[in-house]
Amino acid sequence: MKLTLEIWRQEDAASKGAMQTYEIDEVSEDMSFLEMLDVLNEQLNSQGDEPIAFDSDCREGICGMCGLMINGEAHGPEVTTTCQLHMRSFKDGDTITIEPWRASAFPVMKDLCVDRGSLDRMIQQGGYISVNTGSAPEAHSVPVPRDHAVRAFTAAACISCGACVAACPNGSAQLFVGAKITHLGELPQGQPERDQRVVDMVAQHDHEGFGGCTNIGQCTAACPKEIPLDVISQLNKDLRTALRHGL
């Protein structure tokens, strides 16, 4: 198929960017979206134009490195990561707009690459269980009810891609924070630090410039790992409990 691509180009963080139009031919429906961009980049390189910068690594939908706004939707039309989106979701003659994640907490560094360091900084504020290597008790000493383990896993499946933030009109990262709060809060090992964790992570969330949650639900709709919206309810519940405990 033949496509028209409108792509955001931006030299670096300090420069102003703009959309540019490219034509691409002979796109096969077996290509992944990023392979289609690879082909475009080969074409640009042979014409002497600088290839378009975009992030990806595993290309298996698990590392969370990729992420593009495709026709205004985070990761495009399917519920999956950009790297797992295939061209059979498009048709001959389509015009596709491709932009980087847009959020004030994710500054653009070049073309389609953004800085998501803010997500790591939230984890640094308590998104862990404090246990030094070698000091762990025998794994079977604390059974975990299966439904808790399953809910913890579902929340822990977050790949930290940032699609939730990009999709949210408020630029909120509450789905991301809620997922971590739920993952660790469902497990007995996560209890001792539960109150402090939610207070500190939420403080960092606000400090980074992420917006508040107004229950729109675009985050969970865009999430390639289908993290459920109830992790945000859990976040609010844990926060209320922590505040009641005087934190």
Binding site: L34, N45, D120, I123, V131, A136, E138, A139, F153, Q189
Partner: protein, 675 residues
């Protein structure tokens, strides 16, 4: 000096070139002195690690914050080490090329992690895990290292559970296990199909906790491009900030490389796009020996290539072979037919036919090679790519009749969905198509029992080293090794080295630093000014084709020699004709790739020389000149029971081969048979 890796030289006449002239690599290398690991204590195998931990000197807690450690890599091996050394109080600088440590390629591991917990009371033990791993490695790994790995495996599970890793559990709340990779006990712990992700998040969170505590400093989007060696010791790295393009010097008392595997030398593999050999290759060029570089694992169940645009390959869990039946048409003429229209009598279930005892569950290398043969015969299925059909059917129709579709959906639903997304075909209706792909490398930098390379002060962990998997890796053992190295081994052995520190401060204008920095800048300048016509990717793809054709599943003397010639020509052309656009002082992905491909090209040549030297079939490595009468792999323990450790001696000089004899005291060497 006590901290030097012990490479004491002894004489081993048995490793002279065999009288029949079977050392095919003669002329491509210079024979060197044998290599011996003397860090593993003598004595019974089950006491060696305790002895070593006791003998390794301690570092006073107050001194630890004066000691600095650079760790390149944040996968299971590097992330766990950064967390643990940070907790101990050392000053750690951690590097990765992704934008977050949590994206290291360990994240992609699906199947699980082994540990000798024996929770199922099915006869598992440390000794059995040790035995299975050495046997699985086809008797080409170092027994002391493997025993230790099995020993510490149980602590890994305890640690991960305490960190909140949500392993699969039974209804009673206890951990579930499954049997994996053809072993007879259930010792594999898993978290759905995302075990690597969950383990990595555990290590990442432990590391982020140390970032918060101020012991670990994190450098993301930084790529190590050179190792700094001062007065014979590893003292730092040169890294490029991939956002600003600035080339930075980072110095420390000790350097750890945990940069993962180099499977991308084949261009197409199940590795991440950025997986590279640059960190290990640069260390090799600075004097660290590279061991068994040709040992590659090829995984039989990957989704076939769909066209020349293909950028990477996707693994599908091996567990599919438990219920799926592998076949191709008996007649070439049927290869383009709808598989559902091919009559039972016209199908060749070739694994069941050739290996009736194991059938579709034969080990990875055998299943992979058999698929190659039937496709070479022209009986492959699926789309024609570059003149050939490379795919075989993995058919669930029988299993679906036997167990019902819901049961199959329950077991493999996520894999079937993934397959459908990538291929656009519904595997509940049409048989899946699979083909082998490069998945893992057992080769890597040579390390002693302490995980120290031949450069004092350079430690190597995880897939980047060579030590634990011999010529073939058993399923679910790489995750185990990465975490064993980082949480439980390195922290003990590195303290012995660091107890001599802090070492003399290296000034940034030290000639060795200046020279390393200049070399990196010169390489970048070369790529930016080469003004050629071909893209980096086109060279990478060409290299991959050469490697896959001649140094892939099956290797021969003629093929390998041809490959070496082709690679040398390619290298010449690459330096003259590559085109890298954009600027070096900014984010530039073509420039990043150019550096990686340059190193892959050199590595590819060494892999071929290594494969040429080893005229035996062992593990995942098949030499056509070494097979039994019925075409099965034939090992030669009399000639090749050694680790081949290669020393770099200059661009124009052949590498020097040092052999480390493999001696087994706790296990007897046996030839595999799956017939």
């Amino acid at each position: 000096m006590t901290d030097m890796p012990d490479t004491t030289l002894t004489s081993h006449p048995s490793h002279d070139a065999p009288a029949d002239g079977s050392d095919d690599a003669m002329g491509y290398y210079t024979p060197g002195e044998p290599l011996v690991d003397r860090k593993a204590p003598d004595g019974p195998i089950d006491e060696r690690w305790n002895t070593r931990k006791f003998e390794a000197r301690l570092v006073n807690p107050a001194n630890r914050r004066k000691l600095s450690v650079i760790i390149v890599g944040t996968g299971l091996a590097g992330g766990s080490a950064a967390a643990t050394l940070g907790e101990a109080g050392y000053r750690v600088k951690s590097f990765c090329y992704q934008d977050s440590p949590r994206r290291a390629h360990s994240v992609a591991a699906q199947g699980g992690i082994n540990a000798a917990k024996n929770y199922k009371e099915d006869g598992d033990s440390v000794h059995r895990l040790f035995f299975d791993t050495v046997k699985g490695g086809d008797y080409r790994s170092r027994e002391s290292n493997v025993y230790r790995l099995a020993e510490v495996s149980t602590s890994i599970i305890d640690q991960c559970v305490a960190q909140g890793v949500p392993f699969a559990r039974e209804y009673g709340g206890l951990l579930d296990n499954r049997s994996f990779g053809g072993v007879q006990v259930s010792r594999t712990f898993y978290a759905r199909g995302q075990t690597g992700q969950q383990l990595l998040i555990g290590a990442y969170q432990a590391m982020e906790r140390q970032v918060h505590a101020g012991t670990v400093e994190e450098f993301t989007r930084h790529e190590m491009l050179e190792l700094v060696v001062v007065d014979g010791r590893a003292r730092g790295i040169i890294a490029r900030n991939m956002v600003t393009g600035s080339v930075e010097t980072h110095l420390a008392d000790v350097v750890v490389i945990a940069s993962g595997g180099y499977g991308n030398v084949f261009y197409l593999s199940t590795n991440a796009m950025g997986s590279n050999t640059t960190a290990t290759w640069r260390a090799y060029r600075k004097g660290a020996y590279m061991a068994n570089p040709c040992y590659t694992q090829i995984h039989p169940t990957c989704i076939p290539v769909s066209g020349s645009h293909q950028s990477k390959l996707t693994l599908m869990s091996e567990s599919l072979r438990n219920d799926g039946r592998i076949w191709v048409p008996k007649n070439q003429a049927d290869c383009t037919k709808d598989p559902r229209d091919i009559a039972e009598k016209d199908r060749d279930y070739y694994l069941e036919r050739i290996y009736p005892a194991f059938g579709n569950l034969v080990p990875r290398d055998i299943a992979s090679r058999a698929a190659k043969y039937v496709c070479d015969e022209g009986r492959g299925v699926g789309p024609e790519v570059e003149g050939a059909r490379r795919g075989v059917y993995l058919d669930f129709a029988d299993a679906m009749d036997r167990l019902g579709e819901p049961a199959i959906r329950e077991k493999y639903g996520n894999l079937f969905d993934m397959y459908a997304r990538i291929t656009g075909e519904n595997p509940y209706d049409v048989p899946m198509r699979i083909y082998p792909a490069v998945h893992y490398v057992m080769g890597g930098l040579w390390v002693d029992y302490d995980l120290q390379s031949t450069i004092p002060g350079l430690f190597v962990t995880g897939e980047a080293n060579f030590s634990d998997h011999g010529a073939n890796r058993l399923g679910a053992s790489a995750l185990m090794q990465g975490l064993a190295d980082g949480y439980f081994v390195l922290p003990h052995t590195i303290r012995d080295y660091l107890s001599d520190g802090p070492f003399e401060v290296v000034p940034e204008d030290h000639p060795a630093v200046v020279e390393s920095l200049a070399a990196v800048e010169e390489r970048i300048r070369h790529f930016m000014t080469a003004k050629g016509t071909r893209s980096v990717d086109s060279y990478h793809r060409e290299l991959g084709n050469i490697m896959w054709e001649y140094c892939g599943m099956e290797r021969s003397e003629d093929g390998l020699k041809k490959a070496i010639d082709l690679i040398r020509t390619l290298k010449d052309d690459f330096y003259r004709n590559v085109r890298v656009l954009g600027h070096d002082q900014s984010l530039n992905q073509s420039l990043e790739k150019a550096g990686r491909v340059a190193d892959f090209i050199e590595l590819g040549e060494l892999m071929c020389i290594d494969a040429l030297n080893r005229r035996e079939s062992c593990g995942g490595h098949f030499r056509t000149e070494s097979s039994t009468e019925d075409g099965e792999a034939l090992r030669h323990d009399d000639l090749y029971a050694y680790v081949a450790a290669w020393e770099f001696t200059g661009d124009e000089e052949p590498p020097v081969l040092h052999k480390e004899d493999l001696v087994y005291t706790a296990i007897e060497m046996k030839q595999r048979s799956y017939k």
